[in-house]
Symmetry: C2
Subunit: 501 residues, 2 copies
């Protein structure tokens, strides 16, 4: 394929090489920092070529990305056992299997922390090679990113070697959608000058320069975007309950009338909640989030979206088509920022986002597990949920009241792993109701959570645990019977259900 | 006592009343927001009078402070069962007993969150009455605070009724030490304009105004400051290990040569670590912390302290004397800010603090318990530890390797309560060594923590657990045997020791 018109500086044409040739600069043990956040905007050709090399030469690299990426990167490298350490987030089946069986070493990080930790040298050296997917390269040698920003800009800044994959499947019309700002590091850092969700503070390209680009590689493989699960009754119920809750909070004077910028996590439930706003009375909605999904296109299409800022555009295949067809319209109100800015605690707290994320399980005292199935097996990772949950104006976690056809209660006596503590949550929503735990002590929280959110099959069991734990501890601050606190999980592991038989 | 010269506007003299009279405005069920952070700068006369009233009239109020306060407030009100809900932090024996036995409802909050949550209306209504200790009241009716800032400014802003306790035991020379800034709330909030630890951004008084002051009460009771435990060998060892670690990190290019602003937690170990810097080669130290303790006076006295910013000045009795004698010198480099600013995630991350806090226990995977003894009994509260740990440049937790004369290992298979997750910690220090877990996966962390920090009595037991858990889970991301994970705690509860007998 011809990428010469996308490589706008003629002198750079000499640096165009095949993926195979570019991949040869990668040495065993190197830290490879790539673009990509969700299956969007990740490099494809060079990783596939690298996987081929590894298949023959048997070595490993450390893979640092924005977040999860597509199968041509995570999948291909995992399949040839090419990854030693992986960070900061993944959702790939091969990697998940490997990291849960002593293979890939997985360092699960807050997504806002990753770029600065890499610059500080905290992750085991700095980025050796950056591989960045681009729409185009400017006359000055700066990089126009594609469907995600992630950590690309910081990785380019730090890397000795920069490989740019110019992807012809990515429309040039993406140019202008990005806002690239890299903070200085302490003691020189300044306030990030965003005060409204849609403020532009940086450049529409990743600063790089002619000299810094080592190789340019053509690619035409499309983002491996996935279908979202259809919005089911449970998701619809949660969405309706949450919107109703917000209306009441506005009435009570606890929430500004025009709401505040919405942040919504990845996945189907989050997408459903956002879609729910399209049918609500709310207008002029602002979104300050990590991932822009189909739900936000819905909001835009009904004219209710004022602006959406994220670090990745991650639609379904149908959503991607819809986006491409009206890209000039969407681009006016959508913006992609580095995840260090999209997930910035400073900004989340300043503009006061409404944070909506999904939990694997929560406990009666309000602690949340977002990552570990039965306390041991990694699902995906904490992602940006902590960046937002800790710093939001209002922090909400969603979960259906049960999992695995009712064999698991999503509300347990004690979570088997903690990602978000009782200090970081305001509201829980299941398909059955809303638990508002703001300003409550643990024993008060427990009653509200059990009463409003737990499934009837598990409610009496949870109340029974709470009351016996209160008795056993003489009503300590957080009553637990330690010999029993994790017994729901062990019962599930042993019998296939948390129910008593 | 005569406070007329401290109440600089003559028209206000008519509002001077006895503590008893002022206390009559307090009605059952009210939210009372007071000054005070550690046993420093809290109101004394009105709370004592309120306690007397409650003894006769039997009612309860909700008590919101900066953090812990002295016995004339927490102690006196708890003794008459006068507190319904208490937030955001406490260290008082009476309250601790009550909240651990079903009495006081205790809502343990991140200290940087409290003021904004109170303004948002998230804590069960707003502040009804603010009771603020002052050095003096200005001509314009603004309040000069004393030895702490805490949440005073925000409480004054929100309250309908403001009672000012003018305390003649607090030297007027404190005037000028405060820097009061209250952020606007979303969607109007702006960047907090601090870029260096000692930047001044506000007023030297709490904005109030003549009309807003309801009563002025004279008081001469001194802050109930406490002796710190003497610096013992363990604390000295941890301090030396940590300073040595910092030197190596500077050499490795991971830390700026001149260090970054220090934050140190409350208590003896934290104080010892700060004192350790006085004997180190480091100079021109900056402190951006919550509580200014004796250790910082030591630094100042040897000329190594460039500046110290905190929200409370909390010395020992001897430290307080030392401070009073040289107040004009100390005041030039010391500053008290509202805790919303002192503990601000935005600032901690921007200026890049080195966060040094103490843990009750940690687990082999790096999760930290700062609050709950054996997972159930509240010790103090999370305080500001989460504000700093999550946002620091470098996050360090200190703990001796054992507690209760070796019967408890501070490093356990699974912590019985989580306040700080594996995502929020960089370095652990016990008297035996330093575990640097930056960029490590859980199974790597476990080996470093056990090897470098655990007590020899418990090392083989911890390694045995890790290896068996790996086997049982086939090397999952975070190996645990759930039936055994909390068994060290239950063994201690049953047998008085975590050792196997
Ligand atoms: C928590 C999270 C895994 C939920 O994802 P989801 O797609 O909404 O959840 P699902 O209901 O499909 O559950 C995913 C799997 O976990 C299982 N599961 C759900 N709850 C469970 C529980 N309490 N115990 C055990 N397994 C559970 C489901 O059965 C499903 O298993 P399967 O894949 O074998 O079918 C996902 O939101 C996540 O990774 N979050 C962390 C990162 C994050 O929040 N990012 C956004 C920040 S901006
Ligand atoms: C964690 C914290 C309690 C440690 O305080 P400390 O004074 O350094 O600790 P000590 O070693 O004196 O321990 C306090 C008590 O806990 C007990 N303890 C310590 N470790 C324990 C463990 N692993 N299991 C059970 N008890 C333990 C001690 O024996 C002691 O008990 P005692 O009062 O009956 O003698 C204290 O730092 C705290 O409250 N931290 C949370 C708030 C915070 O970090 N604030 C600063 C933020 S800026």
């Amino acid at each position: 394929m011809d990428i010469k018109d996308r490589v706008r500086n003629k002198a750079l044409h000499a640096k165009i090489v095949s993926a195979e040739e570019a991949a040869t600069v990668i040495k065993p043990g190197m830290n490879i920092g790539t673009s990509g956040f969700t299956p969007s905007g990740y490099p494809k050709a060079v990783p596939l070529a690298l996987a081929e090399r590894i298949k023959k030469e048997h070595f490993q690299i450390n893979l640092w990305t924005g977040a999860s990426v597509g199968k041509e990167l995570d999948g291909a490298l995992a399949a040839v056992n090419g990854i030693n350490k992986r960070l900061p987030y993944q959702t790939n089946n091969e990697i998940r299997k490997s990291l849960n069986s002593g293979g890939v070493k997985y360092c699960d990080l807050h997504l806002s922390h990753t770029a600065q930790m890499s610059r500080y040298g905290f992750l085991g050296g700095k980025v050796d090679v950056a591989i960045i997917e681009a729409c185009a390269i400017t006359e000055e040698g700066h990089i126009i990113p594609t469907t995600s920003m992630g950590n690309s800009a910081s990785f380019v800044q730090s890397a000795d070697i920069v490989i740019v994959e110019v992807n012809t499947s990515q429309p040039l019309a993406l140019e202008g959608m990005h806002d690239v700002y890299i903070p200085l590091d302490p003691p020189h850092r300044l306030p990030i000058p965003i005060v409204k969700a849609d403020d532009r503070i940086g450049t529409p390209y990743i600063p790089c320069g002619l000299d810094k680009i080592t190789y340019i590689v053509p690619c035409d493989i499309r983002d491996d975007v996935r279908d979202l699960a259809a919005i089911d009754d449970d998701a619809r119920a949660m969405s309706a309950l949450f919107i109703d809750f917000l209306k009441k909070d506005i009435k009570a004077g606890r929430m500004p009338k025009g709401l505040l910028p919405l942040q919504s996590g990845v996945g189907s439930v989050a997408n459903a909640v956002v879609s729910g706003f399209a049918e609500s009375e709310f207008t002029d909605l602002e979104v300050y989030t990590e991932v822009i999904q189909d739900g936000m296109l819905d909001l835009a299409d009904v004219g209710k979206l004022k602006s959406a800022s994220g670090t990745s555009f991650s639609p379904s295949p149908a959503g991607l088509e819809r986006f491409y067809q009206n890209i000039d319209t969407y681009r006016k109100i959508m913006m992609l920022r580095p995840q260090e800015i999209a997930n910035s605690p400073e900004i989340a707290r300043r503009i006061g986002v409404i944070a909506m994320n999904t939990a694997i399980e929560l406990d009666i005292y309000g602690n949340v597990n977002s990552t570990h199935i039965m306390g041991t097996k990694m699902m995906n990772g904490i992602g940006g949920s902590g960046d937002f949950a800790r710093n939001a104006y209002l922090t909400c976690f969603f979960s259906t009241s049960t999992a695995k056809n009712g064999a698991i209660s999503s509300i347990v006596p004690m979570v088997s792993h903690v990602d978000h503590t009782e200090h970081d949550v305001d509201i829980f929503v299941t398909e059955l109701g809303v638990a508002d735990v703001r300003g409550l002590s643990p024993k008060e929280r427990a009653r509200v959570i059990i009463e409003n959110c737990a499934h009837p099959d598990y409610k009496p069991m949870l109340m029974d645990y709470l009351e016996r734990a209160e008795k056993a501890t003489k009503c300590a601050q957080t009553p637990h019977i330690l010999t029993e606190a994790l017994s729901w999980h062990t019962r599930f592991i042993e019998t296939g259900t948390m129910k008593k038989q």
